[in-house]
Assembly symmetry: C3
Homo-oligomer: 341 residues x 3
């Protein structure tokens, strides 16, 4: 439990009301009770303040007088909520040290935790306080930055570098070979060795079973602060800018460069060799087939219909060109019939 | 090998013909031979009965006289076939006991099988007869129900609960952090601790490399009897109803609620915060962007075309609004020309 | 470092210039320097030859006189580049032998390398020189062909067969149960045992976290030389022809048969029970819902638009049938007005 004045001393904000009130859990305006700190991040829920039973509330300056509850006023209540939630729910990390069931062929600092079943190859560098989960493999000469956490069964191929304070969820694969082959005349494929690395910046989070391939000649690069959800596929030589967030199931093909602070919706796809500007938002399910030079929101998806409606409407998609011709023909006939128009 | 009268005694159905006939394998009408039990699940294949060489056949009441072979008559031959196939092919489970290569920090019943390389953390509860495969990680305080089977390299995060008789295929990840961040004004992301759990009901099957994230505050819930195929991504706080089946590569975004007995086709996507009614069918590849309030089949996908046809037709998709305007203009011109129409 | 005459002796091609020149790295025309071998695979970059500082160049017969640098002339410079790159970058394999941290219940040849944390079940057959990475599971009676490499945390279910010289990247799952259930009248699912296997031919590469399900009765088959990228899902009883290449995130539903030398673009989907001819190319993001009988390129995807344009244009997709009706009505009105047309 934290006193409100402690919270403000640590995290900033203006405190209104009894500084000795103690809170220890985050809650919504509806569910909060004794000991809970609720938050109003969106003005449209302000009416819920009047029935709120939480011990205190986080809110924005324009809502400061909307309640008589003890409150913390801050420019961005949602970010403040996130910081308080971190304070209330610190990560539970395993104890430092190498479990006897781990196989560690490199020198690691005593502050590192390596779980049973993990394998760390020769030449790997593991930063202070890093956590290597059960069943993880850290390949030869790979680097794991200080205080980064690898959950269970993460695979880091040789030579790849993970920054500091990263979180890699279970099943992540970093540095598998990019999909690079030369094609012989008879259709057989000749493998092109993938000799680049994957470089992951500081403060990156990577979701469960996401895969990031190593570069062919140059490196694949994930900028600092980027957040990747689950089951994303990042191909060789892709570069992703700082603080870009990518939702689940997205695929990004080879050599595409994505700017900083972009947001890519779930199941979106971006084909290879494109350039996407900073601050671009791609909607869920959208396949991007051309470079995007300017910030903005971009979309390509279909409206869902009941199956019979879809059958009726979408049959015409095969004949759009003919429809356009028929419209043009109608215009010409009318023009001829009435040239004055 | 089973006698036909044994099968009927165990699984029901009406037996016509020699009860002493013995069968031990399932086969199709075309491939069945001596010792095989074939089945007719779809009337349109009834003509194949006349050349069928299987020792016996499962069929529906309306086909009872379509063959002279020994036969089991049942209301639903396909379900009957599935039950017989289970009888003929019981799962081969590893022996009970803890392999010395496993790391088990919890008390587990002697009937449990834990493979080498598996790690079970303190506080975990493992039900009678459960199987924990090689390389699996069962986090602290996680529960695995009786007779559930975790294949190789499954990761269960702390506190998550798996029901009884579940099957989790290799590479499944249950309970990784949901994708939750607050955004600062400069675009940096602040992680929101994900303090909910994943609750998986009884008799759920989860395919290889599928991921189900833990809830942010509340739990993510998979209803009993649900069947999930491979490489599905279920985001935080999703709730999936009982007996819903989801095909491979589907993504379901955060907080969406899906009803009971739904069927979601492969590569479909459902965006966040939606509500999908019971008994809804979503076709393969369909992106659902609005809640669906009534049972039925829903579709949104494009017809495949040869590339040149696609180029010709789909250029017009950028100009549908202009096409609609031109049709309206034509109608107005004609109305003016012929006001009597 | 290799002398140019050594390269030509091993890999063929015509050498023009000093045979004693030594090269040891592959580079592009722009970045190559002393000791580098550059390549011109596409005539449109020929102008870059004049500033190229590499020690030698690989090029096609029609470019043989485009530079005075030492050069290797070959019919297909890109394939030649791939072979030289393989020579310059031989795979670094772990030493042969069974690590004490591995659990091996089968007899394996001394040339095999098995890493810590790997589990090889009874009855498994491992070919000469094969590499089983850390955390891999090779199920009972599974076969791994000679010189195949399983990277970390690969799961091979019982009875599946992997050919010779295959590469399976981290997190691959081969032989999990196909998604097969019979549905009871009340919506419950009854599991159909999946008793087929997965058969993977020689020289197949399978990308990280790709999953290939075992067949229901018959086998799932991946033809020799096929190349599969990351996060692909192949359902039960699919058959994929030799030398077919499939990009990341593709899903192929049950029982579909794909020909030889096909190329399937990223995030494409192919529904079940289809037949795709040899030499078919499917564009990225395309959902294939009908069989394809002839070689060619097939596409179905939407043009990306800025979000406001998309809203304006795509609203009409729900009303295409009505638009078609209105065009027909206009044509009839004009025909009536001017029957001579």
């Amino acid at each position: 439990m934290f006193r409100l004045d402690e919270l403000v001393a640590r995290l900033g904000g203006e405190l209104i009301g009894d500084p000795a009130v103690r809170v220890g859990r985050i809650a919504t305006l509806d569910t909060g009770g004794e000991g809970d700190l609720a938050f109003l991040a969106n003005r449209k829920y302000a009416s819920r303040l009047k029935d709120c039973r939480a011990s205190a509330v986080i809110l924005a300056p324009d809502a400061r007088e909307s309640t008589v509850l003890p409150r913390i006023v801050t420019a961005d209540p949602y970010v403040y909520f996130a910081r308080v939630a971190q304070l209330f729910n610190p990560p539970v990390l395993p104890p430092a040290g190498l479990h006897p069931g781990a196989t560690v062929m490199a020198d690691v600092p005593p502050s590192v935790s390596i779980a049973p079943g993990a394998v760390v190859e020769a030449g790997a560098l593991i930063g202070e306080g890093a956590v290597i989960g059960p069943g993880c493999h850290v390949g030869r000469d790979a680097h794991i930055g200080a205080h980064s956490v690898l959950h269970a069964n993460v695979s880091i191929y040789h030579g790849c570098r993970i920054g500091a304070r990263c979180i890699l969820h279970a099943g992540v694969v970093i540095g598998a070979d990019g999909f690079g082959f030369a094609r012989e005349r008879d259709g057989r494929w000749v493998k092109i060795p993938q000799t680049g690395r994957v470089l992951v910046g500081d403060d990156v989070e990577i979701g469960a079973n996401t895969t990031i391939d190593r570069g062919a000649l140059d490196d694949t690069v994930i900028g600092e602060g980027a957040k990747l959800d689950n089951q994303i596929q990042i191909a060789h030589n892709v570069r992703i800018g700082a603080h870009t967030a990518i939702a689940g199931c997205v695929g990004i093909a080879g050599s595409t460069v994505i700017g900083a602070r972009c947001m890519i919706g779930g199941q979106a796809g971006i084909i290879g060799h494109l350039s996407i500007a900073d601050d671009v938002v791609v909607s869920a399910g959208t396949l991007v087939t051309k470079s995007i030079a300017r910030a903005g929101v971009y979309t390509a998806s279909l409206p869902v219909q009941s199956h019979p409606e879809w059958v009726r409407n979408f049959a015409h998609l095969r004949h759009l060109d003919a429809m356009a011709d028929r419209i043009r023909a109608l215009e010409q006939r009318l023009d001829k019939a009435d040239p004055a128009e």
